[in-house]
Subunit: 286 residues, 2 copies
Protein backbone atom coordinates (compact mmCIF):
# COMPACT_ATOMS: atom_id res chain seq x y z
CA UNK A 1 0.00 0.00 0.00
CA UNK A 2 2.77 2.46 0.63
CA UNK A 3 3.70 -0.12 -1.71
CA UNK A 4 2.00 1.33 -4.69
CA UNK A 5 3.10 3.12 -7.77
CA UNK A 6 0.43 4.70 -9.91
CA UNK A 7 -0.56 2.30 -12.67
CA UNK A 8 -1.54 2.93 -16.27
CA UNK A 9 -1.08 0.88 -19.42
CA UNK A 10 -1.78 1.79 -23.00
CA UNK A 11 -2.80 -1.12 -25.24
CA UNK A 12 -2.86 -0.69 -29.01
CA UNK A 13 -4.36 -3.22 -31.37
CA UNK A 14 -4.75 -2.39 -35.05
CA UNK A 15 -6.13 1.13 -35.17
CA UNK A 16 -7.51 1.00 -31.64
CA UNK A 17 -5.91 2.46 -28.52
CA UNK A 18 -7.04 1.47 -25.04
CA UNK A 19 -6.05 2.81 -21.66
CA UNK A 20 -6.05 0.41 -18.73
CA UNK A 21 -6.05 2.16 -15.36
CA UNK A 22 -5.04 5.76 -14.95
CA UNK A 23 -3.05 6.58 -11.82
CA UNK A 24 -2.08 10.11 -10.85
CA UNK A 25 0.20 11.72 -13.42
CA UNK A 26 -0.82 9.44 -16.31
CA UNK A 27 -1.46 12.34 -18.68
CA UNK A 28 1.92 13.82 -17.82
CA UNK A 29 3.64 10.48 -18.49
CA UNK A 30 1.76 10.10 -21.78
CA UNK A 31 3.08 13.47 -22.86
CA UNK A 32 6.58 12.46 -21.82
CA UNK A 33 6.45 9.26 -23.85
CA UNK A 34 4.76 11.01 -26.77
CA UNK A 35 1.68 8.83 -26.67
CA UNK A 36 -1.10 10.38 -28.72
CA UNK A 37 -3.62 10.22 -25.94
CA UNK A 38 -6.33 11.75 -28.10
CA UNK A 39 -6.49 8.44 -29.98
CA UNK A 40 -7.71 6.56 -26.92
CA UNK A 41 -11.32 5.43 -27.39
CA UNK A 42 -11.75 3.05 -24.48
CA UNK A 43 -10.66 3.39 -20.89
CA UNK A 44 -10.82 0.53 -18.39
CA UNK A 45 -10.45 1.10 -14.65
CA UNK A 46 -9.77 -2.11 -12.74
CA UNK A 47 -10.69 -0.85 -9.26
CA UNK A 48 -11.07 2.29 -7.22
CA UNK A 49 -7.82 2.43 -5.32
CA UNK A 50 -6.36 5.86 -6.00
CA UNK A 51 -3.17 4.64 -7.65
CA UNK A 52 -5.34 3.19 -10.41
CA UNK A 53 -7.65 6.13 -11.15
CA UNK A 54 -6.55 9.43 -9.57
CA UNK A 55 -5.22 10.58 -12.95
CA UNK A 56 -8.50 9.98 -14.76
CA UNK A 57 -10.39 13.18 -13.93
CA UNK A 58 -7.40 15.24 -15.06
CA UNK A 59 -7.15 13.32 -18.32
CA UNK A 60 -10.88 13.68 -19.03
CA UNK A 61 -10.62 17.40 -18.26
CA UNK A 62 -7.64 17.82 -20.54
CA UNK A 63 -9.51 16.10 -23.36
CA UNK A 64 -12.21 18.71 -22.92
CA UNK A 65 -9.77 21.62 -22.80
CA UNK A 66 -8.11 20.33 -25.94
CA UNK A 67 -11.44 20.31 -27.73
CA UNK A 68 -12.00 16.58 -28.03
CA UNK A 69 -15.29 15.76 -29.72
CA UNK A 70 -14.94 11.99 -30.20
CA UNK A 71 -16.96 9.78 -27.89
CA UNK A 72 -15.14 7.94 -25.15
CA UNK A 73 -16.12 4.64 -23.54
CA UNK A 74 -15.31 4.24 -19.89
CA UNK A 75 -15.59 0.86 -18.14
CA UNK A 76 -15.18 1.00 -14.38
CA UNK A 77 -16.77 0.11 -11.05
CA UNK A 78 -20.10 1.93 -10.80
CA UNK A 79 -19.06 4.37 -8.08
CA UNK A 80 -16.55 6.04 -10.36
CA UNK A 81 -19.41 7.65 -12.22
CA UNK A 82 -20.58 9.27 -9.01
CA UNK A 83 -17.10 10.60 -8.26
CA UNK A 84 -16.58 12.04 -11.75
CA UNK A 85 -20.02 13.61 -11.93
CA UNK A 86 -19.45 15.27 -8.59
CA UNK A 87 -16.06 16.57 -9.72
CA UNK A 88 -17.48 17.93 -12.96
CA UNK A 89 -20.42 19.49 -11.16
CA UNK A 90 -18.41 21.40 -8.57
CA UNK A 91 -16.08 22.73 -11.24
CA UNK A 92 -19.01 23.67 -13.45
CA UNK A 93 -17.46 21.61 -16.24
CA UNK A 94 -19.33 20.63 -19.38
CA UNK A 95 -17.24 18.37 -21.56
CA UNK A 96 -17.43 18.89 -25.33
CA UNK A 97 -17.44 15.13 -25.93
CA UNK A 98 -19.58 12.28 -24.73
CA UNK A 99 -18.47 9.74 -22.15
CA UNK A 100 -20.31 6.42 -22.32
CA UNK A 101 -19.96 5.14 -18.80
CA UNK A 102 -20.37 1.39 -18.41
CA UNK A 103 -20.39 0.01 -14.90
CA UNK A 104 -18.50 -3.28 -14.46
CA UNK A 105 -20.96 -5.75 -12.99
CA UNK A 106 -20.61 -9.14 -14.63
CA UNK A 107 -17.77 -11.04 -16.22
CA UNK A 108 -17.93 -11.10 -20.00
CA UNK A 109 -17.80 -9.07 -23.17
CA UNK A 110 -17.28 -5.31 -22.94
CA UNK A 111 -16.12 -4.33 -26.40
CA UNK A 112 -16.85 -6.03 -29.70
CA UNK A 113 -14.92 -4.34 -32.48
CA UNK A 114 -14.41 -5.64 -35.99
CA UNK A 115 -11.06 -7.22 -35.29
CA UNK A 116 -11.03 -7.70 -31.55
CA UNK A 117 -12.95 -8.07 -28.34
CA UNK A 118 -12.31 -6.94 -24.80
CA UNK A 119 -13.85 -8.78 -21.90
CA UNK A 120 -13.55 -8.46 -18.15
CA UNK A 121 -13.09 -11.02 -15.42
CA UNK A 122 -13.11 -10.83 -11.64
CA UNK A 123 -9.94 -10.96 -9.62
CA UNK A 124 -9.73 -10.94 -5.83
CA UNK A 125 -8.58 -7.80 -4.08
CA UNK A 126 -9.58 -5.84 -1.00
CA UNK A 127 -12.30 -4.06 -2.97
CA UNK A 128 -14.10 -5.21 -6.16
CA UNK A 129 -11.46 -5.48 -8.87
CA UNK A 130 -11.52 -6.51 -12.51
CA UNK A 131 -9.05 -7.89 -14.99
CA UNK A 132 -9.32 -7.29 -18.73
CA UNK A 133 -8.74 -9.63 -21.63
CA UNK A 134 -7.93 -8.25 -25.08
CA UNK A 135 -8.32 -10.77 -27.86
CA UNK A 136 -8.06 -10.55 -31.60
CA UNK A 137 -10.83 -12.18 -33.59
CA UNK A 138 -10.29 -15.00 -36.07
CA UNK A 139 -8.18 -13.71 -38.94
CA UNK A 140 -8.51 -14.53 -42.65
CA UNK A 141 -6.25 -17.17 -44.15
CA UNK A 142 -3.51 -15.94 -46.43
CA UNK A 143 -3.82 -16.70 -50.13
CA UNK A 144 -0.85 -18.09 -52.10
CA UNK A 145 -0.95 -16.25 -55.48
CA UNK A 146 0.97 -18.82 -57.55
CA UNK A 147 -1.28 -21.61 -56.33
CA UNK A 148 -4.42 -19.61 -57.15
CA UNK A 149 -3.11 -19.25 -60.69
CA UNK A 150 -2.13 -22.90 -60.92
CA UNK A 151 -5.66 -24.00 -60.09
CA UNK A 152 -7.28 -21.10 -62.02
CA UNK A 153 -9.46 -20.06 -59.13
CA UNK A 154 -11.61 -17.01 -59.95
CA UNK A 155 -10.96 -13.85 -57.89
CA UNK A 156 -14.63 -13.75 -56.91
CA UNK A 157 -14.02 -16.86 -54.78
CA UNK A 158 -11.00 -15.50 -52.90
CA UNK A 159 -12.98 -14.27 -49.88
CA UNK A 160 -14.41 -17.77 -49.41
CA UNK A 161 -10.90 -19.18 -49.46
CA UNK A 162 -9.85 -16.69 -46.79
CA UNK A 163 -12.58 -18.03 -44.59
CA UNK A 164 -11.46 -21.63 -45.14
CA UNK A 165 -13.75 -22.99 -47.88
CA UNK A 166 -12.61 -25.49 -50.48
CA UNK A 167 -13.13 -24.68 -54.19
CA UNK A 168 -15.02 -27.06 -56.47
CA UNK A 169 -14.11 -26.87 -60.19
CA UNK A 170 -16.69 -27.28 -62.99
CA UNK A 171 -15.63 -30.85 -63.53
CA UNK A 172 -16.30 -31.58 -59.88
CA UNK A 173 -12.66 -31.63 -58.79
CA UNK A 174 -12.25 -30.25 -55.31
CA UNK A 175 -9.33 -27.91 -54.60
CA UNK A 176 -8.61 -28.24 -50.92
CA UNK A 177 -8.32 -24.96 -49.09
CA UNK A 178 -4.93 -25.76 -47.62
CA UNK A 179 -3.47 -26.29 -51.12
CA UNK A 180 -3.92 -22.61 -51.97
CA UNK A 181 -3.74 -20.84 -48.62
CA UNK A 182 -1.47 -20.44 -45.67
CA UNK A 183 -2.71 -20.40 -42.12
CA UNK A 184 -3.94 -17.06 -40.77
CA UNK A 185 -1.69 -15.10 -38.46
CA UNK A 186 -2.40 -16.30 -34.96
CA UNK A 187 -4.96 -14.40 -32.88
CA UNK A 188 -3.06 -12.38 -30.34
CA UNK A 189 -4.34 -11.83 -26.84
CA UNK A 190 -3.35 -9.87 -23.76
CA UNK A 191 -4.61 -10.42 -20.22
CA UNK A 192 -4.31 -7.65 -17.61
CA UNK A 193 -4.83 -9.20 -14.20
CA UNK A 194 -4.89 -5.97 -12.14
CA UNK A 195 -4.26 -6.07 -8.37
CA UNK A 196 -5.09 -9.46 -6.93
CA UNK A 197 -4.35 -12.01 -4.32
CA UNK A 198 -3.01 -15.32 -5.68
CA UNK A 199 -6.12 -16.88 -7.20
CA UNK A 200 -5.66 -19.94 -9.38
CA UNK A 201 -9.05 -19.51 -11.02
CA UNK A 202 -7.56 -16.55 -12.87
CA UNK A 203 -5.44 -18.94 -14.92
CA UNK A 204 -8.61 -20.46 -16.37
CA UNK A 205 -10.10 -17.09 -17.17
CA UNK A 206 -7.05 -16.04 -19.16
CA UNK A 207 -6.15 -19.46 -20.52
CA UNK A 208 -4.01 -19.39 -23.64
CA UNK A 209 -3.24 -15.70 -23.58
CA UNK A 210 -0.10 -14.70 -25.42
CA UNK A 211 0.90 -12.05 -22.94
CA UNK A 212 -0.19 -11.94 -19.32
CA UNK A 213 0.38 -9.01 -17.01
CA UNK A 214 0.17 -10.10 -13.39
CA UNK A 215 1.08 -8.07 -10.34
CA UNK A 216 4.00 -9.18 -8.19
CA UNK A 217 3.99 -6.82 -5.24
CA UNK A 218 6.26 -8.99 -3.10
CA UNK A 219 8.81 -11.76 -3.28
CA UNK A 220 7.65 -15.15 -2.11
CA UNK A 221 9.24 -14.96 1.35
CA UNK A 222 6.57 -12.36 2.09
CA UNK A 223 3.69 -14.40 0.75
CA UNK A 224 1.79 -14.05 4.04
CA UNK A 225 2.04 -10.31 3.85
CA UNK A 226 1.03 -10.46 0.17
CA UNK A 227 -2.06 -12.50 1.05
CA UNK A 228 -3.02 -10.26 3.96
CA UNK A 229 -2.90 -7.25 1.66
CA UNK A 230 -4.62 -9.04 -1.22
CA UNK A 231 -1.52 -8.92 -3.36
CA UNK A 232 0.64 -11.58 -5.01
CA UNK A 233 4.26 -12.63 -5.08
CA UNK A 234 6.52 -13.02 -8.07
CA UNK A 235 6.39 -16.81 -7.79
CA UNK A 236 2.61 -16.73 -7.64
CA UNK A 237 2.39 -14.54 -10.73
CA UNK A 238 4.57 -17.04 -12.56
CA UNK A 239 2.39 -19.90 -11.38
CA UNK A 240 -0.66 -18.22 -12.88
CA UNK A 241 1.14 -17.74 -16.19
CA UNK A 242 2.28 -21.37 -16.19
CA UNK A 243 -1.18 -22.74 -15.49
CA UNK A 244 -2.68 -20.40 -18.07
CA UNK A 245 -0.28 -21.76 -20.71
CA UNK A 246 0.67 -18.17 -21.44
CA UNK A 247 3.42 -17.44 -23.93
CA UNK A 248 4.90 -14.60 -21.93
CA UNK A 249 4.49 -13.02 -18.51
CA UNK A 250 4.93 -9.40 -17.57
CA UNK A 251 5.18 -8.68 -13.84
CA UNK A 252 4.83 -5.31 -12.14
CA UNK A 253 3.39 -3.33 -9.23
CA UNK A 254 6.47 -4.04 -7.14
CA UNK A 255 6.41 -2.80 -3.57
CA UNK A 256 8.51 0.32 -3.12
CA UNK A 257 10.26 -1.46 -0.25
CA UNK A 258 12.39 -3.24 -2.84
CA UNK A 259 15.16 -1.19 -4.34
CA UNK A 260 16.47 -3.74 -6.83
CA UNK A 261 14.10 -5.86 -8.89
CA UNK A 262 16.42 -8.62 -10.11
CA UNK A 263 15.08 -11.05 -7.54
CA UNK A 264 11.57 -10.68 -8.92
CA UNK A 265 12.81 -11.86 -12.30
CA UNK A 266 14.88 -14.70 -10.83
CA UNK A 267 12.03 -15.94 -8.70
CA UNK A 268 9.42 -15.80 -11.45
CA UNK A 269 11.63 -17.39 -14.09
CA UNK A 270 12.31 -20.38 -11.87
CA UNK A 271 8.62 -21.22 -12.40
CA UNK A 272 7.87 -19.70 -15.81
CA UNK A 273 10.70 -18.93 -18.14
CA UNK A 274 9.51 -16.20 -20.47
CA UNK A 275 9.05 -13.37 -18.02
CA UNK A 276 9.86 -9.68 -18.10
CA UNK A 277 9.56 -6.78 -15.67
CA UNK A 278 6.95 -4.16 -16.56
CA UNK A 279 8.93 -0.94 -16.59
CA UNK A 280 7.75 2.64 -16.92
CA UNK A 281 7.63 3.93 -20.45
CA UNK A 282 8.46 0.62 -22.11
CA UNK A 283 6.47 -0.90 -24.97
CA UNK A 284 5.89 -4.67 -25.06
CA UNK A 285 4.94 -6.16 -28.39
CA UNK A 286 2.96 -9.38 -28.75
Amino acid sequence: MHDRHPTAQVVTLDEHMFLVDCGEGTQIQMNRYKIRRSRIEYIFISHLHGDHYFGLAGLLNSYGLNGRTEDLWLFAPAQLQEILELQFRVSDTILPYKIHFRALENEGLLVDEKKLTVSCFKVTHRIPTWGFLFREKEKPKKLVPEKLREYSIPASFYHHLKEGSNYTMRDGTVIMNEWVTQPANPRRSYAYCADTIFDESISEKIFGSDLVYHEATYLDDLKERAASRFHSTSRQAATIALKAHAKKLLIGHFSSKYEALDDFLTEASSVFQNVELAMEGVTYTI
Copy 2:
Protein backbone atom coordinates in the same frame (compact mmCIF):
# COMPACT_ATOMS: atom_id res chain seq x y z
CA MET B 1 -8.49 26.48 -19.55
CA HIS B 2 -6.42 24.33 -21.84
CA ASP B 3 -4.46 27.07 -20.52
CA ARG B 4 -3.78 25.53 -17.20
CA HIS B 5 -0.85 23.98 -15.51
CA PRO B 6 -1.47 22.24 -12.24
CA THR B 7 -0.82 24.63 -9.38
CA ALA B 8 0.72 24.02 -5.97
CA GLN B 9 2.78 26.24 -3.71
CA VAL B 10 4.54 25.39 -0.50
CA VAL B 11 4.80 28.26 1.98
CA THR B 12 7.14 27.97 4.97
CA LEU B 13 7.12 30.41 7.86
CA ASP B 14 9.19 29.69 10.95
CA GLU B 15 8.57 26.05 11.77
CA HIS B 16 5.30 25.90 9.83
CA MET B 17 4.79 24.50 6.37
CA PHE B 18 1.67 25.21 4.36
CA LEU B 19 0.50 23.85 1.03
CA VAL B 20 -1.55 26.13 -1.18
CA ASP B 21 -3.45 24.26 -3.88
CA CYS B 22 -2.52 20.78 -4.97
CA GLY B 23 -2.80 20.06 -8.69
CA GLU B 24 -2.25 16.61 -10.19
CA GLY B 25 1.28 15.37 -9.62
CA THR B 26 2.01 17.64 -6.64
CA GLN B 27 3.31 14.79 -4.49
CA ILE B 28 5.56 13.65 -7.30
CA GLN B 29 6.95 17.16 -7.70
CA MET B 30 7.47 17.48 -3.94
CA ASN B 31 9.56 14.33 -4.05
CA ARG B 32 11.52 15.66 -6.98
CA TYR B 33 12.32 18.90 -5.19
CA LYS B 34 13.00 17.11 -1.90
CA ILE B 35 10.28 18.93 0.00
CA ARG B 36 9.56 17.17 3.29
CA ARG B 37 5.86 16.95 2.63
CA SER B 38 5.26 15.21 5.96
CA ARG B 39 5.92 18.56 7.65
CA ILE B 40 2.87 20.17 6.05
CA GLU B 41 0.23 20.91 8.71
CA TYR B 42 -2.17 23.12 6.77
CA ILE B 43 -3.50 22.76 3.25
CA PHE B 44 -5.48 25.47 1.50
CA ILE B 45 -7.43 24.80 -1.69
CA SER B 46 -8.43 27.98 -3.50
CA HIS B 47 -11.16 26.51 -5.70
CA LEU B 48 -12.36 23.26 -7.20
CA HIS B 49 -10.98 23.40 -10.71
CA GLY B 50 -9.05 20.20 -11.18
CA ASP B 51 -5.70 21.81 -11.81
CA HIS B 52 -5.83 23.12 -8.26
CA TYR B 53 -6.84 19.98 -6.37
CA PHE B 54 -6.61 16.75 -8.41
CA GLY B 55 -3.35 15.90 -6.61
CA LEU B 56 -4.85 16.20 -3.15
CA ALA B 57 -6.49 12.78 -2.75
CA GLY B 58 -3.24 11.12 -3.78
CA LEU B 59 -1.24 13.17 -1.30
CA LEU B 60 -3.67 12.43 1.54
CA ASN B 61 -3.53 8.73 0.64
CA SER B 62 0.24 8.74 0.59
CA TYR B 63 0.33 10.35 4.01
CA GLY B 64 -1.74 7.45 5.24
CA LEU B 65 0.41 4.83 3.53
CA ASN B 66 3.50 6.40 5.03
CA GLY B 67 1.99 6.14 8.49
CA ARG B 68 1.34 9.79 9.21
CA THR B 69 -0.28 10.31 12.60
CA GLU B 70 -0.12 14.11 12.90
CA ASP B 71 -3.38 16.00 12.42
CA LEU B 72 -3.85 17.91 9.19
CA TRP B 73 -5.98 21.01 8.67
CA LEU B 74 -7.63 21.36 5.30
CA PHE B 75 -9.31 24.60 4.23
CA ALA B 76 -11.30 24.37 1.02
CA PRO B 77 -14.68 24.94 -0.59
CA ALA B 78 -17.24 22.76 1.20
CA GLN B 79 -17.82 20.35 -1.67
CA LEU B 80 -14.29 19.05 -1.49
CA GLN B 81 -15.18 17.21 1.68
CA GLU B 82 -17.90 15.34 -0.17
CA ILE B 83 -15.49 14.38 -2.96
CA LEU B 84 -12.79 13.15 -0.59
CA GLU B 85 -15.18 11.22 1.61
CA LEU B 86 -16.60 9.50 -1.44
CA GLN B 87 -13.13 8.63 -2.68
CA PHE B 88 -12.07 7.24 0.68
CA ARG B 89 -15.31 5.31 1.02
CA VAL B 90 -15.13 3.52 -2.33
CA SER B 91 -11.51 2.57 -1.72
CA ASP B 92 -12.32 1.41 1.80
CA THR B 93 -9.62 3.72 3.11
CA ILE B 94 -9.26 4.60 6.78
CA LEU B 95 -6.53 7.17 7.29
CA PRO B 96 -4.29 6.78 10.33
CA TYR B 97 -4.35 10.55 10.94
CA LYS B 98 -7.09 13.09 11.45
CA ILE B 99 -8.10 15.64 8.83
CA HIS B 100 -9.78 18.74 10.23
CA PHE B 101 -11.84 19.92 7.27
CA ARG B 102 -12.79 23.57 7.37
CA ALA B 103 -15.14 24.81 4.67
CA LEU B 104 -14.30 28.26 3.28
CA GLU B 105 -17.40 30.38 3.72
CA ASN B 106 -16.50 33.86 4.90
CA GLU B 107 -13.52 36.12 4.48
CA GLY B 108 -11.33 36.33 7.56
CA LEU B 109 -9.05 34.45 9.88
CA LEU B 110 -8.37 30.77 9.25
CA VAL B 111 -5.22 30.05 11.22
CA ASP B 112 -3.96 31.80 14.33
CA GLU B 113 -0.55 30.45 15.27
CA LYS B 114 1.86 31.95 17.76
CA LYS B 115 3.86 33.84 15.20
CA LEU B 116 1.53 34.15 12.24
CA THR B 117 -1.98 34.19 10.92
CA VAL B 118 -3.53 32.99 7.70
CA SER B 119 -6.72 34.54 6.44
CA CYS B 120 -8.75 34.10 3.30
CA PHE B 121 -10.37 36.58 0.96
CA LYS B 122 -12.68 36.24 -2.00
CA VAL B 123 -11.48 36.64 -5.54
CA THR B 124 -13.62 36.51 -8.65
CA HIS B 125 -13.47 33.43 -10.83
CA ARG B 126 -15.94 31.25 -12.71
CA ILE B 127 -16.65 29.28 -9.55
CA PRO B 128 -16.21 30.34 -5.89
CA THR B 129 -12.52 31.01 -5.37
CA TRP B 130 -10.42 32.15 -2.45
CA GLY B 131 -7.12 33.90 -1.99
CA PHE B 132 -4.98 33.41 1.10
CA LEU B 133 -2.99 35.93 3.10
CA PHE B 134 -0.10 34.78 5.26
CA ARG B 135 1.03 37.36 7.78
CA GLU B 136 3.58 37.30 10.56
CA LYS B 137 2.42 38.72 13.86
CA GLU B 138 4.04 41.68 15.56
CA LYS B 139 7.57 40.76 16.51
CA PRO B 140 9.49 41.74 19.65
CA LYS B 141 11.88 44.67 19.53
CA LYS B 142 15.53 43.79 19.63
CA LEU B 143 17.45 44.67 22.79
CA VAL B 144 20.82 46.42 22.56
CA PRO B 145 22.96 44.73 25.27
CA GLU B 146 25.45 47.57 25.82
CA LYS B 147 22.63 50.05 26.28
CA LEU B 148 20.87 47.76 28.77
CA ARG B 149 24.08 47.69 30.80
CA GLU B 150 24.61 51.44 30.49
CA TYR B 151 21.19 52.16 32.00
CA SER B 152 21.40 49.19 34.42
CA ILE B 153 18.04 47.81 33.41
CA PRO B 154 17.18 44.58 35.28
CA ALA B 155 16.76 41.45 33.17
CA SER B 156 13.29 40.92 34.59
CA PHE B 157 12.15 44.00 32.65
CA TYR B 158 13.54 42.88 29.27
CA HIS B 159 10.32 41.30 28.02
CA HIS B 160 8.50 44.61 28.62
CA LEU B 161 11.17 46.38 26.58
CA LYS B 162 10.68 43.90 23.77
CA GLU B 163 7.03 44.84 23.70
CA GLY B 164 7.83 48.56 23.55
CA SER B 165 7.52 49.78 27.15
CA ASN B 166 9.73 52.51 28.60
CA TYR B 167 11.65 51.81 31.82
CA THR B 168 11.27 54.08 34.84
CA MET B 169 14.23 54.12 37.23
CA ARG B 170 13.83 54.38 41.01
CA ASP B 171 14.61 58.07 40.88
CA GLY B 172 11.80 58.56 38.41
CA THR B 173 14.04 58.96 35.37
CA VAL B 174 12.39 57.47 32.30
CA ILE B 175 14.55 55.44 29.94
CA MET B 176 12.84 55.67 26.60
CA ASN B 177 12.33 52.34 24.87
CA GLU B 178 14.04 53.43 21.68
CA TRP B 179 17.26 54.24 23.60
CA VAL B 180 17.82 50.59 24.47
CA THR B 181 16.15 48.71 21.64
CA GLN B 182 16.22 48.42 17.89
CA PRO B 183 13.09 48.10 15.83
CA ALA B 184 11.67 44.60 15.41
CA ASN B 185 12.23 42.81 12.18
CA PRO B 186 9.41 43.79 9.88
CA ARG B 187 6.35 41.52 9.77
CA ARG B 188 6.49 39.61 6.55
CA SER B 189 3.40 38.80 4.56
CA TYR B 190 2.48 36.84 1.45
CA ALA B 191 -0.72 37.10 -0.53
CA TYR B 192 -1.80 34.29 -2.85
CA CYS B 193 -4.47 35.62 -5.17
CA ALA B 194 -5.42 32.31 -6.85
CA ASP B 195 -7.27 32.35 -10.20
CA THR B 196 -9.19 35.56 -10.71
CA ILE B 197 -10.50 38.06 -13.14
CA PHE B 198 -8.98 41.54 -12.78
CA ASP B 199 -10.64 42.82 -9.62
CA GLU B 200 -9.26 45.99 -8.08
CA SER B 201 -10.85 45.28 -4.73
CA ILE B 202 -8.24 42.57 -4.26
CA SER B 203 -5.58 45.25 -3.88
CA GLU B 204 -7.31 46.49 -0.74
CA LYS B 205 -7.62 43.01 0.70
CA ILE B 206 -3.91 42.38 0.34
CA PHE B 207 -2.75 45.93 0.98
CA GLY B 208 0.85 46.23 2.12
CA SER B 209 1.83 42.62 1.44
CA ASP B 210 5.50 42.04 0.93
CA LEU B 211 5.05 39.43 -1.72
CA VAL B 212 1.98 39.06 -3.91
CA TYR B 213 1.33 36.10 -6.18
CA HIS B 214 -1.18 37.02 -8.85
CA GLU B 215 -2.12 34.99 -11.88
CA ALA B 216 -1.29 36.31 -15.35
CA THR B 217 -2.85 33.85 -17.74
CA TYR B 218 -2.63 36.15 -20.76
CA LEU B 219 -0.84 39.18 -22.10
CA ASP B 220 -2.83 42.37 -22.18
CA ASP B 221 -3.71 42.24 -25.88
CA LEU B 222 -5.98 39.34 -24.91
CA LYS B 223 -7.62 41.09 -21.99
CA GLU B 224 -11.09 40.43 -23.42
CA ARG B 225 -10.35 36.74 -23.56
CA ALA B 226 -8.92 36.93 -20.04
CA ALA B 227 -12.08 38.59 -18.74
CA SER B 228 -14.38 36.15 -20.52
CA ARG B 229 -12.52 33.26 -18.88
CA PHE B 230 -12.30 34.96 -15.51
CA HIS B 231 -8.54 35.27 -15.74
CA SER B 232 -6.14 38.21 -15.68
CA THR B 233 -3.38 39.63 -17.84
CA SER B 234 0.18 40.38 -16.85
CA ARG B 235 -0.51 44.13 -16.86
CA GLN B 236 -3.55 43.63 -14.65
CA ALA B 237 -1.57 41.56 -12.16
CA ALA B 238 0.99 44.35 -11.98
CA THR B 239 -1.77 46.91 -11.46
CA ILE B 240 -3.03 44.97 -8.46
CA ALA B 241 0.47 44.82 -6.99
CA LEU B 242 0.96 48.55 -7.57
CA LYS B 243 -2.32 49.52 -5.93
CA ALA B 244 -1.65 47.11 -3.06
CA HIS B 245 1.71 48.84 -2.43
CA ALA B 246 3.29 45.41 -2.56
CA LYS B 247 7.03 45.08 -2.32
CA LYS B 248 7.27 42.34 -4.89
CA LEU B 249 5.03 40.59 -7.39
CA LEU B 250 5.18 37.01 -8.52
CA ILE B 251 3.17 36.17 -11.65
CA GLY B 252 2.22 32.72 -12.87
CA HIS B 253 -0.48 30.46 -14.35
CA PHE B 254 0.56 31.42 -17.87
CA SER B 255 -1.53 30.05 -20.69
CA SER B 256 0.15 27.15 -22.45
CA LYS B 257 -0.44 28.99 -25.73
CA TYR B 258 2.62 31.09 -24.94
CA GLU B 259 5.94 29.41 -25.55
CA ALA B 260 8.20 32.19 -24.28
CA LEU B 261 7.38 34.11 -21.13
CA ASP B 262 9.65 37.17 -21.52
CA ASP B 263 6.74 39.33 -22.63
CA PHE B 264 4.91 38.65 -19.38
CA LEU B 265 7.83 40.09 -17.46
CA THR B 266 8.23 43.08 -19.78
CA GLU B 267 4.54 43.90 -19.67
CA ALA B 268 4.22 43.60 -15.90
CA SER B 269 7.40 45.50 -15.12
CA SER B 270 6.22 48.47 -17.20
CA VAL B 271 3.58 48.92 -14.48
CA PHE B 272 5.27 47.48 -11.38
CA GLN B 273 8.99 47.13 -11.32
CA ASN B 274 9.79 44.39 -8.84
CA VAL B 275 8.24 41.42 -10.57
CA GLU B 276 9.33 37.85 -11.15
CA LEU B 277 7.93 34.83 -12.97
CA ALA B 278 6.73 32.00 -10.75
CA MET B 279 8.64 29.01 -12.04
CA GLU B 280 8.33 25.33 -11.19
CA GLY B 281 10.57 24.20 -8.39
CA VAL B 282 11.87 27.65 -7.48
CA THR B 283 11.89 29.05 -3.92
CA TYR B 284 11.07 32.72 -3.39
CA THR B 285 12.21 34.25 -0.11
CA ILE B 286 10.52 37.23 1.49
